[in-house]
């Protein structure tokens, strides 16, 4: 276990973004919210418009990718990773629970009725949970280490350990977090962090499991 501590490198969280319910949090504070509860599709489109994203491919994404992509867009606003890092020096690590079950069901509907059988490639392509990582990579020209884990529950300790492992020599910055879209559409949440080696913001927010844990619980209340 001694090995483990030796290899742990100090990193910092430069920014965080979460989308929970009808709230968008940036660095722990509400940046945008909708008073009335609306369905996910309506809500996520209003977030897209509010932040002036202007990326038409957004509308082709499935719910999970829309959620991950938008959270990442807001996270990186005003920050040009491309100016600071080589494409291979930034990684993406995301964890999810339901994989793409909502999209799987939607795709299944295109093939279940044999008399109306029209498998949709545009839906099928989104039936893999790592596509949300691909969308973020394409948008930001990120070519480094990338991976999608699936877990029953969000484990901040695991996220911290794996990202730290990557930051100790394989990458210099990381977009990481937890993005979940449950098929029952009223539940979704995203917690994405930008982790860098230097304390860019001088706020001394160390990248630690305890911070991730606290941040998760604080925002969900």
């Amino acid at each position: 276990m001694g090995n483990e501590t030796e290899r742990m490198v100090g990193c910092y969280i430069s920014r965080s973004c979460s989308i929970i319910g009808t709230n968008v949090f940036v660095d722990g504070c509400i940046d945008f919210n909708q008073d009335q509860f609306v369905d996910f599709n309506t809500f996520i489109k209003s977030v897209y418009k509010h932040y002036g994203i202007g990326f038409l491919k957004f509308y082709k994404m499935d719910s999970l990718s829309k959620l991950a992509f938008l959270t990442s867009e807001i996270l990186l606003m005003g920050r040009s990773l491309q100016q600071k890092y080589r494409p291979e020096d930034t990684g993406i690590v995301l964890i999810n629970s339901s994989s793409t079950l909502e999209t799987d069901t939607r795709y299944f509907h295109t093939i279940e009725d044999k008399s109306n059988y029209f498998p949709s490639p545009a839906v099928f392509v989104y039936t893999l949970p790592n596509i949300m990582v691909g969308e973020i990579a394409i948008r930001n020209k990120i070519m480094g280490e990338n991976i999608t884990f699936v877990a029953e529950k969000y484990d901040p300790q695991f996220l911290y350990e794996y990202v730290n492992l990557l930051m100790s020599g394989k990458i210099k910055s990381c977009i990481c977090g937890w993005v979940e879209f449950e098929p029952n559409r009223s539940f979704y949440e995203s917690f994405i962090y930008l982790v860098e080696k230097d304390d860019i913001t001088n706020r001394n927010i160390k990248f630690e499991a305890s911070f991730l844990e606290k941040n998760y619980h604080d925002l969900k209340v």
């Binding site: 489109k45 038409l56 509308y59 029209f118 949709s120 490639p121 545009a122």
Partner: protein, 84 residues
């Protein structure tokens, strides 16, 4: 033909998730796969599905697809031709 063209434009907007694009904004003769609408290879496959689902026309050869889906006009022409 005019009705078919308008119908096609609406169908494409729906099937390809072209939100914020109105039928009048799609030029009938302009290339679909260029900078204009930003369509890609997956959209091309979806257009093949659209043709089969809504018009009963099957395109098995993807190379043929390139000509058929050049523009709304070429799509409409192909549909009309297939109806004869």
């Amino acid at each position: 033909m005019g009705q078919l063209i308008t119908k096609l434009k609406k169908e494409i907007i729906e099937v390809l998730n072209l939100e914020d694009v109105g039928p009048d904004e799609i030029e009938t003769g302009a290339p679909l796969f260029g900078d204009g609408l930003g369509l890609d290879s997956i959209d091309a496959l979806e257009l093949i599905v659209l043709l089969e689902k809504n018009y009963g026309i099957k395109i098995d050869d993807p190379k043929k697809g390139k000509d058929v889906f050049y523009s709304i006009q070429t799509m409409a022409d192909y549909i009309e031709k297939s109806r004869l």
